[in-house]
Subunit: 347 residues, 2 copies
Amino acid sequence: MSSGSEFTPISTIGEFGLIDRLRGILGEPGDDDLVAGISDDAAVYRIGEGRVHIVTSDMLVEGVHFDRLTMPMEYLGTKSIAVNVSDVVAMNGMPRFATVGLGLPETVSIEQVEALYRGMRKACDAYGVALIGGDTSAAHELTIAVTVIGEASEDAVVYRSGAVPGDILCVTGDLGASYAGLRVLLDQRRALQEEGESYSPNVEDYQYVIQRHLLPTARLDIIRDWRKRGVQPHALIDLSDGLASDIQHICTQSGFGAQIHVAALPVAIETRQVADELAQDVDTFALFGGEDYELLFAAPPEDIERMDDTSFRVIGRITPEAEVVVVMPDGQSFPLHGGGFEHFRGK
Amino acid sequence: MSSGSEFTPISTIGEFGLIDRLRGILGEPGDDDLVAGISDDAAVYRIGEGRVHIVTSDMLVEGVHFDRLTMPMEYLGTKSIAVNVSDVVAMNGMPRFATVGLGLPETVSIEQVEALYRGMRKACDAYGVALIGGDTSAAHELTIAVTVIGEASEDAVVYRSGAVPGDILCVTGDLGASYAGLRVLLDQRRALQEEGESYSPNVEDYQYVIQRHLLPTARLDIIRDWRKRGVQPHALIDLSDGLASDIQHICTQSGFGAQIHVAALPVAIETRQVADELAQDVDTFALFGGEDYELLFAAPPEDIERMDDTSFRVIGRITPEAEVVVVMPDGQSFPLHGGGFEHFRGK
């Protein structure tokens, strides 16, 4: 019952390489109601009368996506729902239903699972999601697998692939804060482990960035506002891997390129402060830091004008050449080659 | 950031006890389109025009649900889809779409993940399911979280709660074979570990029971046949925890009891052979062995007559008293108190 002699580690091709290989094995699902499969933030299928459902699944694994030492259970519950809602939002869909699969090690108590579920409940209430089912199992590490199903009319769905040259590139909120928060938490965990009980973590000074990491918000408010104004972008993605990686998804799938102005990237003063303290370049946080769960979108100028201009910042534009070019504050420009956070890759 | 002083192990209340507690935290989801939530094999929500979708999520965890030493990757892929399809079938729904979340340890190769996906593809083809999305992540143990979405007209959905006194209780296929297969595999793994390379596992003599454990079949054929004949049972569940446990779900949720005749339980000759070799009672396998994924249903005599009588066996009936009574082959009877397989509980 061995599985053959070949053994190629997944790290040799990375997460995206693996997904490409698996897509080949799966082939094209021959379902007439399927509108979009494994190539966007979420899959889309028709439910009738020009309406679609949008489904997405994300798995959070202890030691990979979170650390129980720095991540309170209730926050973890809220975040596990929010990141899936964010994927539905990134298709311009409204979240409706969620299921949860929990893998629970013996070191997790009933009280902790209850805290986790209180966090999920809060997120479900905030996003109008009904948690309708799930599965619990024993496991050696805490594992949370959430599936969220959303709804939209078929012509309201926005894909990664719709950007065209001339479109303006925009992001909501600010960038790099989640990564700054992660760095602070890692520092504080190290200090806690080294100094023990005598160490008192400084949460107040870093409240904003820590919150951005532990309790990210899915930008349902943005797409609700678009719906009210009767406007929608050409292409849309949520920033989970980091701007540098996520812009590549839009460009690759649209078949065009982009020019991004680093000086225009919105960065919170608190994020800049953390970067300064660590003697690091805050632009790196903004370009490569993941898990901000803000929205990156491309839209023609006339549609941009119809949106609430306090809710986003223009950071560049879609170009005909299939390359992403970053323009630095000093005017120099260089091509960007992926570089977002990927699991499995060696550091 | 500690989580309070209380620490009550989950094992003190078991999986079902935990689910009850969590249901209290979630409350009643206030969604008008939700038909059934966390109380059946799957959740049910309206998609319009008297039609519903049926959604179910299951998590398979290495070391809990399977052992990589005795479970070939391709079979694992097929099984992970089949057990979720079985939950949709247990609502009398047709499976349509699936998403997969994979937690992959470094000890799993690209070739193994490809084998896993080939198995999923086979199951998807067999059950008419389109695999439309998912997520891969690093993990310390192989974890497979599958969500399957099915479809039905709202009045075709069969719940656990619909059984009434006078209904006949039936099961499809045969019982206890999966458990017999598991016992054989555990024996062979032990021998392999003790005797090393010199040990040659005997797969031929135990092919049937091993196959029943490694490659269970969701009984989509049964509900397709019912649909063709225009008949459906009052109550329906798939046998995943074991007959003794699953009949309790039907009785508790229907508010009635049942009488089961042990002499009528269908058992394959191969299952009986394994029980004999282990000097164990095969009726115990049939009553308490889980993971057969056969269907247990309750239907009135006139509907039973309209079904294909080669596809099921009558094993008892629904009674007015809220108690499950087992009648032994010698005519003695005793009440049954749960006892199916539950995670978390001490052995």
